[in-house]
């Protein structure tokens, strides 16, 4: 979806302001949110793409106004509600009011390693890769109203396939509940002037990780 989360190339957000000696968490609740997100992902109730999708569907003014972990908390609530694992009256009451729905598994303190290990997203190839390293490709001019990982700033622009990363779970399909539908994944590199115009910095090159359905031959 063409949401405010798709920020590449936007103006007006100001300077980057690094914080000296930044703590891992700025308040204990931030760590709780992160840990709950990891623990709930482990239950199999949803996956990383659905977490992103939930945040992208927050109202734009909320997405931009709240802090990072607050956004996570709001996305977590949306996923919990959407999957029927909790209800709004429970969140309002701060207590369980209804029986739990079964989940596939729960994380226990005896082994938290699954919550610290990144999932694997590569899947066996079901068809040969359509593009080869060095091929010129155009990022398709598509505007799905649903979750996608093709940022707006490359759509319609021509780049070069630099790496073939393998055959990966396709987020656009996962969030639709349409299964993993694995696709070839490429690193496609664009000249900065192709993206930002002839007057832009000629020394800049930008790459995205692009799934095959995002690309077309030139």
């Amino acid at each position: 979806m063409n949401g405010v989360h798709d920020m590449g190339g936007m103006h007006g957000f100001g300077r980057v302001e690094p914080e000296a000696d930044e703590p891992v968490f700025h308040a204990p609740w931030e760590g709780r949110v992160l840990a709950m997100q990891r623990a709930m992902t482990y239950t199999g109730a949803w996956n990383i793409d659905m977490s992103r999708d939930a945040q992208e569907h927050l109202p734009p003014k909320v997405y931009l106004a709240v802090s990072y972990y607050e956004r996570w908390a709001l996305g977590l609530e949306q996923n919990l509600l959407g999957k029927g694992l909790v209800t709004a009256d429970e969140l309002a009451a701060g207590h369980a009011l209804h029986p739990a729905k079964p989940v596939r598994r729960t994380l226990t303190q005896t082994d938290i390693s699954p919550a610290l290990t990144r999932g694997k997203y590569e899947r066996p190839a079901t068809a040969p890769a359509r593009f080869r390293i060095g091929d010129r490709v155009r990022a398709r001019n598509i505007h799905p109203a649903t979750h996608t990982r093709l940022p707006r700033y490359v759509r319609g622009h021509v780049g070069t396939v630099e790496r073939i990363e393998g055959h990966h779970v396709f987020p656009d399909s996962v969030v639709m509940g349409a299964g993993e539908s694995p696709q070839w994944l490429y690193t496609v590199v664009f000249d900065g002037r192709e993206l930002w115009g002839a007057g832009s910095d000629p020394s800049v090159k930008v790459s995205v990780e692009a799934f095959e359905p995002y690309l077309e031959s030139v």
């Binding site: 989360h5 190339g9 100001g14 980057v16 690094p18 968490f25 700025h26 609530e77 990144r118 590569e122």
Partner: protein, 214 residues
């Protein structure tokens, strides 16, 4: 909701603290989570998962050309020997800075970052200013960090739009011949592995115990 600023340090519980507490209580009462497991996850991210892991990898790449070759070929496989608490999935990619090319990592769509080797990303990495400008004005972003590069140096920005993850292998600082991996690692900053900074110069750190009188 009150969101005038990101962090509340007052004694009263803020809206977000109450909200997060409510979520945790409900999830615990329903048996979906174990608060003790949450404690351990938080502790792992606060103590064991951080840029010190990436610094060890960079130091080894500086001192061991065969390791560097393996790292650039397949970083996930190469770093397996470090036995990090948190393993990277399949797809860590190390990109090398050279005098001709400077690499920078961003995630314009969310906050993708190589947690396993760099820990959790800093606030600025996840912020709108960085995500919006890193791809369109990387030199301007670098200037925000006080980093200047020659105009002819290629700036290569890697937007992490899938489950591949990137880390920058910065250039080894001058005058570090003969340093141990541990000494080299002390020069490696988090930002140098994101591409928004350089390693510390050799003369800014505690000199080696021998021959360091100069």
């Amino acid at each position: 909701m009150s969101h005038d600023h990101d962090h509340h340090h007052g004694s009263e519980l803020s809206d977000v603290q109450l909200r997060v507490r409510a979520i945790e209580t409900v999830l615990t009462e329903k048996g979906y989570i174990d608060p003790a497991a949450l404690d351990r996850i938080v502790e792992a991210f606060e103590t064991r998962i951080g840029p010190h892991n990436g610094a060890r990898i960079v130091a080894k790449a500086w001192s061991d050309p065969a390791f560097k070759a393996r790292l650039l070929d397949d970083a996930s496989k190469a770093i397996a020997e470090f036995g990090l608490l948190s393993r990277v999935g399949d797809h860590l990619i190390a990109v090398e800075n050279t005098p001709e090319r400077h690499n920078m990592i961003v995630c314009t769509l969310c906050s993708c970052y190589p947690w396993e080797v760099l820990g959790l990303p800093p606030v600025w990495y996840k912020s709108a200013p960085y995500r919006s400008r890193a791809v369109s004005d990387p030199r301007g972003v670098l200037a925000d960090f006080g980093v200047m590069l020659p105009a002819e140096t290629e700036i290569r920005v890697w937007d992490s739009t899938a489950e591949t993850r990137f880390m920058v292998l910065p250039m080894r600082p001058a005058d570090t011949e003969g340093w141990s991996d541990e000494q080299l690692a002390s020069l490696v900053t988090r930002d140098s592995m994101i591409g928004t900074g350089f390693p510390k110069p050799a003369d800014e750190t505690t000199p080696r115990s021998e021959g360091a009188a100069s």
